[in-house]
């Protein structure tokens, strides 16, 4: 007997922390764009967050089993939209990533592809549960994620295409991949990296992937970005320079301080204390998500939430890692913090699914 779902079961605490992160983000975007031509982006971000909230509530009302049922159509839509971007996308700085929608809204399909892949992977592995994954299962899953990855890589958008990978990894891990197979796959992947490195990646992508190891070799290119980011974070010290007082942020030394490098800007202006606070908020969000995964009514619910966890934790690790010089510059935004409608919308839609999974936890 199915109980009616109720917003009483909505994860209000999780939402509160998420909104706190959004407020911090909006304030930092305000500070980082204060002396640039992007001034006023924080108000746009407010609208994106409000829009995201709306989308989240709508999606949380749709039973996730329905989403799982629509997956074939969704996956087809995902492939079509990615192909559409390649054919008719808006070219910005040499890459076709954007689709212009009527009303002047630009959208990055690669963001919602993330969501669709989470659903697809969740459904696939949930169905395979309780038996050990065969090579065929792995190959199918690999293809399922690999095709959109290649399409996005073709745009070219290395960063976003990489974010699809943890979804697959999480699915394989939770789906029950034998450790021997995992080992073989790892070795195989390493072997595969070599032709990808030489054939698929463009020179600037390669340089971006390596220059973080030694920023001084390329002081004006991506190495410059890493260097300025490190200076910004270090300049923050323990308590930060104060809001709107970061010289690296305000002096335009820090590259795109309102999107990819927003964590550097925040760290400069609010210091170690502020940065740790934000990381703890993220930690809370992730733990809360995992808790929701545990309490999910069924395997597919768990897989859905864990897919979201995989994407968000990967993006945090890569983005913050990039800001503090531990990871290459890949153009992966920081969820909930970086300016950008597509990214915000994805995060809130993903949260909508999580909320639905949570609200359905007592069903049955």
């Amino acid at each position: 007997m199915r109980r009616t779902i109720s917003f009483r079961d909505f994860d209000w605490l999780l939402l509160a922390v998420v909104l706190l992160l959004c407020i911090i983000s909006i304030l930092e975007i305000y500070s980082a764009t204060l002396h640039t031509k992007f001034v006023g982006f924080h108000t746009k971000q407010v609208f994106w967050v409000l829009g995201g909230l709306g989308a989240m509530f709508i999606l949380s009302c749709i039973n996730y089993h329905r989403l799982l049922g629509w997956i074939h159509w969704l996956y087809l839509f995902c492939l079509v939209s990615l192909a559409g971007v390649l054919v008719a996308g808006q070219r910005v700085m040499g890459a076709r990533r954007w689709i212009r929608l009527p009303g002047g809204i630009h959208f990055q399909p690669s963001e919602w592809v993330k969501l669709i892949l989470i659903i697809a992977v969740a459904r696939y592995f949930a169905n395979l549960a309780r038996r050990e994954l065969s090579w065929g299962d792995v190959a199918k899953a690999g293809l399922m994620v690999g095709i959109p990855m290649l399409l996005v890589l073709k745009q070219p958008d290395l960063g976003t295409s990489l974010t699809y990978f943890p979804v697959l990894l999480m699915g394989l891990f939770l789906g029950g991949l034998h450790w021997k197979k995992a080992l073989i796959l790892t070795v195989g992947a390493l072997v595969l990296v070599v032709p990808v490195w030489y054939k698929v990646l463009k020179p600037y992508q390669k340089q971006r992937l390596t220059s973080f190891l030694n920023p001084d070799t390329d002081p004006r290119g991506s190495g410059y970005q890493v260097k300025q980011s490190l200076i910004a974070v270090g300049d923050g010290g323990l308590f930060g320079r104060g809001a709107t007082k970061g010289t690296q942020t305000q002096g335009d030394f820090l590259p795109i301080p309102y999107t990819d490098f927003i964590f550097a800007a925040f760290s400069e202006e609010h210091g170690f204390v502020g940065a740790v606070f934000v990381l703890l908020l993220y930690f809370f969000v992730l733990m809360r998500l995992i808790q929701n995964a545990q309490t999910a009514a069924d395997l597919s619910g768990t897989f859905l939430v864990m897919g979201v966890v995989a994407v968000i934790s990967f993006q945090i690790a890569v983005n913050v890692g990039m800001v503090i010089g531990l990871m290459p510059v890949t153009g992966i935004p920081l969820p909930l913090m970086s300016y950008g409608g597509s990214s915000i919308l994805f995060t809130f839609l993903a949260l909508g699914i999580v909320m639905n999974v949570r609200m359905n936890r007592f069903v049955n």
């Binding site: 300025q228 200076i231 974070v233 270090g234 323990l238 030394f253 993220y282 930690f283 503090i324 531990l326």
Partner: protein
């Protein structure tokens, strides 16, 4: 379809949780490393990123004449500097910069190479006084070339046509050789320093102190604000002892002739005028001089950069007879010396000629007649040691200590001097030549001015100087005295009777029968002494002007007014000018200007004269006023005047600008006056050449003499200008 009983093993989610904790710990450790451990270092890097030190150039002090009339001014100009702090390798952009600034890539490279060792925050001067087009280029390429910085500087504006150029000097970038010298220890490459004249000797006062500004820039090098500001301390304005009217008269009197004129106030040693010819235009140095122009200046056989007033070392000719007379009278020999001049005499087996048969000559008429035979005889009686002793005591063979760089000390030959420098014995015949100011004897115009001015003042010798000592702090005054050592202020007792004999003799020089009678100034007590110094030791053509200009004798004249305790002494050197009487006419013009000015002042005590605004004479030649030749009334201080341009300022010195027609008596030229003899004999040619090297030794010798004679008659400063009149 879905099995709702399924649950994942709990450990798998725990593994994910631990994985997330591990990731966060790694990120936290990274933040700790940057923000807690490395905070200081990164704070410094952030400061370096955004703060750019831009120098604020201190304007150099202006120079005024003794009445406060402007001699040297500044004008604003823009220079282009290269900032290196950004750390970018700019070499790749050199072709573009070279095009925009109208330079060559090699010039840029050498400029950068020159500053290789300087600290990074110090900007490299690329080009000075850039044109509006070049400024536009820099402004338009701010984004691509943020390293190019425009800095406003004050540049020197000198009188044109080399007016007082040697006195004032010029400024230029400090050279590498200068930087190695101790007095330039605190200078940096690229600093602008005085390279000659007052600009050099008073550089430390004039230069002021550059300030700096910390400008906040963004990543493209655009200014977004100012942090700190250390204002520049402007250089001190200096009042020179020069009198612009006298200087102008001297400039005009010398004209284009090769030589020098010095006018002093013997009471104080104040230099009233200092001219050297040929001259140069210091405005050419204000912006970096082109190699071609520079080569032309330094290879010119007439040495335009040489300040002949203090750097020419030449035989004084008959002007030395004043010194001989002092020596002869003070030693008690000349009073009783009577010589029958028969056109020369034989000494030590050689015939030494005089230019005329003067008949009976005593000390009273020896000076106006400039009789060589008399002074040959006197020299023989005195002997070279006594002559050298008196010459030293009266200030020859040593620097005067004038506060201008590069003064020479001249040469006073003696037995000791010759032995030391040539390892040869003194020939008695050489003494005879020295007696008439020839031979190895060498003096500079400024020495002659101090020495003869001092003799005419009854033995009170003053250090010549171009800046009033009371303009300077005690400390700086002492530093100047240390830096420019010389004979200084000395009193040498001269018997008043002898003083009168000599000054009366000098007065007779401009009387009928004197050698400079042609320069007689009616109503002015104008005394002096001519000198015609051989430049070659030949007897040929002794009584006529040599055909070859370079062989003509140097024409000297020393003029004073009035004859005793003179208010002004003028020394004229006209190289290869022929006869001393020609120089006398130049001196007469200067003295006349001076006396007329004094009379004017005297008669208008209640109403001081309006200063002539020197600034009014600068203008753009393209300006209609300038072409029209009408008198310009434009003030140089009005620096915003659009018609002004670097290095193109004009000092109008038309014939009428002195506002006085030439006196009629100058028209009545007389060449009938006897000139000094053209004979000089048996002088070792090597002695002439080596005289320079001997100069220093002679100077120290002379100083010992000077110290032994501290007391002497102090002539009273005349209160009345009327004294100048006969």
């Amino acid at each position: 379809m879905m099995n709702r009983e399924e649950k994942l093993p709990a450990y798998k989610l725990s593994i994910v949780q631990y994985g997330i904790v591990a990731i966060l710990l790694v990120l936290l450790s990274g933040l700790w490393r940057l923000q807690v451990v490395g905070a200081q270092n990164y704070r410094a890097l952030a400061q370096e990123n955004r703060i750019r030190k831009v120098p604020i150039m201190a304007p150099r002090g202006k120079l005024f004449d003794r009445e406060g009339r402007l001699l040297v001014d500044n004008y604003p100009s823009i220079s282009c500097f290269l900032i290196r702090e950004q750390g970018r390798n700019i070499e790749a952009d050199f072709p573009m910069i070279a095009r925009g600034l109208d330079m060559t890539v090699d010039q840029l490279k050498s400029a950068v190479a020159h500053y290789r060792t300087s600290p990074k925050y110090q900007p490299i001067p690329l080009k000075q006084d850039i044109t509006p087009d070049e400024q536009e280029f820099i402004a338009a390429h701010r984004d691509e070339l943020p390293e190019l910085e425009m800095i406003s500087e004050q540049r020197r504006l000198y009188p044109r046509n080399g007016f007082a150029a040697h006195l004032i000097g010029y400024v230029g970038e400090v050279s590498d050789e200068m930087l190695n010298e101790p007095q330039y220890a605190y200078y940096e490459p690229g600093d602008v320093v005085g390279r000659s004249g007052v600009e050099q000797s008073y550089d430390q006062l004039l230069r002021g102190q550059d300030g700096s500004q910390d400008i906040i820039v963004d990543s493209r090098g655009r200014d977004v604000g100012t942090l700190g500001r250390e204002p520049a301390i402007p250089g001190k304005d200096l009042k020179l002892t020069i009198d612009l009217d006298i200087q102008r008269a001297a400039e005009e009197a010398l004209g284009d002739r090769n030589g020098a004129i010095v006018a002093l106030d013997p009471h104080t040693g104040e230099v009233l005028a200092l001219v050297s010819r040929p001259t140069f235009d210091p405005n050419d140095f204000a912006v970096r001089i082109s190699r071609g122009d520079w080569d032309k200046l330094i290879t010119d056989p007439n040495h335009p950069l040489m300040d002949k007033a203090i750097q020419a070392q030449l035989a004084p000719g008959s002007t030395f007879k004043i010194i001989m007379s002092v020596a002869g009278l003070q030693e008690g020999i000349a009073q009783n010396l009577h010589v029958d001049c028969q056109g020369g005499a034989t000494f030590y087996g050689h015939f030494f000629a005089c230019d005329q048969r003067h008949g009976l000559v005593t000390i009273h008429n020896a000076i106006p007649l400039s009789c060589d035979t008399y002074f040959y005889t006197l020299a023989q009686r005195l002997g070279i040691e006594k002559i050298a002793e008196w010459a030293h005591r009266l200030g020859l063979g040593q620097k005067t200590g004038i506060d201008l760089p590069g003064e020479v000390s001249g040469t006073v030959p003696s037995e000791q001097w010759k032995m030391r420098n040539f390892h040869q014995k003194w020939f008695a015949g050489e003494t005879i030549s020295v007696g008439i100011g020839q031979g190895a004897l060498q003096v500079s115009p400024i020495q002659l001015a101090r020495t003869i001015g001092g003799i005419a003042s009854g033995g009170v010798f003053k250090r010549p100087h171009v800046v009033f000592p009371n303009e300077l702090s005690t400390q700086y005054r002492e530093a100047i005295l240390d830096s420019y050592p010389g004979a200084g202020d000395v009193k040498v007792p001269i018997d008043p009777a002898n003083w009168e004999i000599i000054t009366e003799g000098m007065a007779a020089v401009t009387e009928p029968g004197g050698t400079a009678w042609g320069s007689h100034l009616e109503g002015i007590d104008f005394a002096g002494k001519t000198g015609t110094a051989q430049v070659i030791s030949k007897n040929a053509g002794q009584n006529k002007i040599a055909a070859n200009v370079a062989d003509r004798p140097n024409a000297w004249f020393v003029g004073i007014a009035p004859r005793r305790n003179p208010d002004i002494i003028v020394v004229v050197l006209w190289q290869h000018g022929g006869w001393g009487s020609g120089s006398a006419r130049m001196a007469a013009k200067v003295i006349e200007t001076y006396v007329e000015k004094q009379r004017r002042l005297h008669h208008n005590v209640a109403q001081p004269p309006q200063p002539v605004e020197v600034g009014a004479v600068w203008s753009n030649p393209a300006h209609p006023d300038a072409l029209g030749g009408r008198p310009l009334v434009r003030h140089a201080a009005n620096q915003t005047d659009a018609s002004m341009r670097a290095g193109h300022f004009f000092l109008h010195l038309p014939a009428g600008s002195a506002a006085r027609p030439a006196p009629a008596l100058f028209a009545r030229r007389s060449l009938s006056q006897a000139a000094s003899p053209a004979v000089y004999h048996a002088v070792n040619q090597d002695a002439n050449r080596a005289a320079n090297t001997a100069a220093n030794g002679a100077a120290s010798h002379a100083q010992n003499h000077a110290q032994n004679h501290a007391a002497g008659p102090v002539p009273a400063r005349p209160a009345e200008v009327a004294r100048l009149e006969r």
